[in-house]
Subunit: 521 residues, 2 copies
């Protein structure tokens, strides 16, 4: 080992650790063996194996959302990266910081077009903000520092560093460069604040549409004080990387997912002021329907871009509006739903979660059609974080909970999981067991891609026929989630009444470690 | 429904069916609902649901290898395509024909950058030979015909057609254009044949390196007659899309996967004549090792490119060499290994497969380190097809068997599956049950990514340390493959002796339908 202490791979690990990146979600292959060997010399780096790269990438997203800093993923060549792209798409939409390290053939081997060769940069670019292939061991530390800087550039970016095997295995000088400090989030301009002030003072019906760090508790309190003082309405984007909410915090509604609901939400709105958010668009297009739910003539202003200092922008706006210190934010009181009884339905599952979730919980929502009331019925639960699917690519839920649990080992993570989506990355359960993560997983076992039944009607296709049913219904056979969880080392139970669900949830919340509840609805 | 009988989606389905594409491996989403609605009007299209796109893409590869024609995949936007890219990489390396249909937002919706929006063409290109985004319903039929033509261009290509939702849902004229006939495989030039003849007659030690249709039984017989008449050696590429072999056929060796083995294989070779094959390269680069196993100065000639008529090229070569009709090919006699006894090992599993596999079986090999003797120990088994991992991207095995079983419902498919790789696409088992596919799956449960332990040493990293072991070993917990299979509707059994394995395999071969054997080795 004495001869390989200062390889490019060592420089990469050292730079990552110096940059505060000390969790590595990994599924390595041969071309990453020198990086793995370097990891063996860096016990400060926590390595967590995912049994597919969808798990790895989604876990890095969940980790970043809760740790407010990147993890590193270790992926094997183009195909390994490709397996992670769907959840990197979600992370990109969540604006989560992630550093991907993708192994590649040695530079001298590329010309031979060996079987695993592919266009890694081409694959990385659609889902990455920053892509670089490092070309030598000497360049690794500097490139890694820039990757970290790119990832940490507000509000968070996907940085993909391609590491040829010879850059990893060759020796280099041990000195790691200082990690470049990421640029601080930009302060919004006085003009942007003045425009927002003028718009609000015009008396037109105005919505502040927020996302990102504008949805952390303190920023929401500022926004609420503005709302009280001026009459503007607050709204969160339809999907957000993280919302701090629950009792003792300001409650905020989200733009509904269904287009009709979104249109109703904005019906009388004359002005929209964006605070890190995107102007709302329909999730999908439908024949003869508009692409945006905004009413015609609605004016859209930008107070702050996603990379700006969003809490600072809200504070500046409050100050410019002359919102006095006497205006106190309206805080959500503790107000849990009653424990449901009787037959188990999606809503009664959700109500029981609202009734029983503990203080400081992290809710990871990929319940899709089953979660229609989740946001409402957890509004008055004890203070918690809410993480949601951001990019519409299913299979994020189980990995998201994994990453959140790694980032916050002292908090209970509750994953609300649609069954069809859960099957995309069910491999994550094995890592729950391996790392003994404190996650309660609730699978909504409706035995179908229920969302597609609704969308089939929405597009005007009528009732599903034989081929469509074969594609929508998860029956013949039904999936035994208890057996599946057990096979991967996770304890589990199946329930079909509201009472038994509540009993199981209470027990699972009261203990540590992973547990899965298959809620047959 | 009367108003939507002639949509772009209908035109697509009609064109696919007219082009002989009548199997659709699918995991659709909202943007594909009109295609699904059209499928409902086309009962001739068989729709098979995969619970992740890795399953869908790998199944299309297996189907194409055995059906010698493409299936269509139905994938949901960029992320759905991304999930399939790793197995499309393998299919690309296998040169399997596949038509991908990837749904996209309606053309007028793209500008809004809705959450699922991504650069689909950018994602498709690295793993596709042909990519097109169709822009209107009127263009769909023509574009689909070209996609089929591209896919069927010898030796087989990946064609990706992006279908915006409005092109799918808009009405168009019902007339489907004729499907363009794919170009016939090219006849090799007289010069290429003459060069090969001269090389062979020079008396230098020569290898014919073959792949693709050169490895079908009749072409192999021609090659063997050449070998007998001239003394050239026959070799197959390290990995190949399909080899027809077993008793009554010509046996051919493959280039070994380990670099040392490959170097030994070519040690005294002075000339290599490529018959659809690539000049051999090391699968990975290693410090201080060569990128190719060929000895210095070895001359490489190309008799036939991959897209050429390979059986025709061999026939032309035989004729030009004057190989007389009296030269008969040496056919492999029936010669099964003895049934093993005692402790279960990878080799005894493989020997039992060789001893018990039925006539006409299709072997799907993703056994990796456990399958070291598989090719040898099945050499004298009854006539069968052998399908292997071609692109080095793990997770192809279970889907490959799925597709082969759909293509050949009257043949027994036997999947030899490494456990780590199997976990990538274990969801495929559910489709085995749903479609009652006649597949016996043998999982080599060595509880590790065993190949990485070997590669770790190969790159000179020494013995794995704590972090490396966490990444290589599939323990804590071990995976219960029987429970996993059962949870997805597939019967299964665990065995740990050679006798019990043989008993289970015999029983599984003797019945129809899916069965999984977890071979604890």
């Amino acid at each position: 080992m004495t001869k390989t202490q200062n390889t490019g791979a060592d420089a990469l690990c050292d730079t990552l650790l110096a940059g505060g990146v000390d969790v590595c979600f990994a599924n390595p292959g041969t071309s990453e063996m020198h990086f793995v060997a370097a990891l063996d010399r860096k016990p400060a780096m926590r390595c967590i194996l995912g049994l597919s790269e969808g798990v790895v990438a989604g876990a890095a997203d969940g980790y970043a959302r809760m740790a407010d800093k990147p993890a590193v993923t270790l992926l094997h060549c183009g195909p390994g990266l490709a397996n992670g792209l769907a959840n990197l798409h979600n992370a990109r939409r969540a604006r989560s910081p992630i550093v991907n390290v993708v192994g590649d053939h040695a530079t001298f081997h590329r010309a031979y077009d060996a079987p695993l060769t592919s266009d890694i940069e081409g694959l990385a670019r659609p889902m990455s903000h920053w892509v670089r292939s490092t070309e030598s061991a000497a360049a690794v530390a500097g490139d890694a520092a820039e990757a970290i800087r790119a990832a940490r550039t507000a509000p968070g970016q996907i940085a993909t560093l391609i590491l040829p095997a010879d850059a990893a295995w060759s020796e280099t000088a041990p000195a790691a460069p200082p990690v470049l400090a990421p640029p601080a989030p930009a302060t919004v301009s006085a003009d942007a604040v003045a425009d927002a002030v003028a718009a609000i003072r015009s008396g037109r019906r105005t919505v502040l549409l927020m996302t990102g760090t504008a949805l952390r508790a303190e920023a929401l309190a500022t926004a609420d004080r503005i709302a009280q003082a001026t009459g503007v309405r607050l709204l969160a984007q339809q999907s957000n990387n993280r919302v701090e909410r629950g009792a003792g915090r300001v409650a905020v509604n989200r733009v509904p997912y269904p287009l009709d609901g979104a249109i109703a939400t904005f019906r009388d709105v004359e002005q929209l002021i964006l605070v890190g958010a995107k102007s709302p668009v329909a999730f999908f297009a439908y024949p003869g329907r508009p692409s945006t739910p905004l009413p015609e003539g609605c004016r859209v202003l930008t107070l702050a871009e996603p990379g700006d200092d969003l809490p600072g922008a809200l504070a500046a706006l409050a100050e410019a509006l002359g919102v006095g210190q006497g205006v106190q934010p309206t805080l959500q009181p503790l107000d849990r739903p009653a424990l449901p009884t009787g037959a188990l339905t999606a809503d009664s599952v959700v109500a029981a979660v609202g009734a029983l979730m503990p203080e400081g919980a992290i809710l990871c929502d990929e319940a899709l059609t089953s979660g229609g009331r989740l946001f409402d019925l957890t509004r008055g639960a004890p203070a918690h974080d809410f993480l949601a699917l951001t990019g519409g690519s299913i299979g994020i839920g189980l990995p998201l909970a994994l990453g959140a649990a790694v980032a916050c080992p002292d908090r209970k993570v509750i994953g609300l999981q649609a069954d069809g989506s859960g099957m995309y990355t069910a491999q994550a359960l094995w890592t729950y067991a391996r790392e003994n993560l404190d996650i309660v997983t609730v699978v909504f076992a409706n035995r179908s891609y229920a969302i597609l039944r609704g969308e089939y009607r929405s597009v005007g296709a009528g009732e599903p026929g034989a081929n469509a049913k074969r594609l929508f219904d998860l029956v013949e056979p039904t999936i035994d989630w208890v057996g599946l969880a057990n096979s991967l080392g996770v304890e589990a139970a199946r329930v079909d009444t509201a009472e038994s669900f509540a009993d199981r949830l209470k027990a699972a919340v009261g203990r540590r470690g992973p547990f899965l509840i298959e809620a047959v609805i």
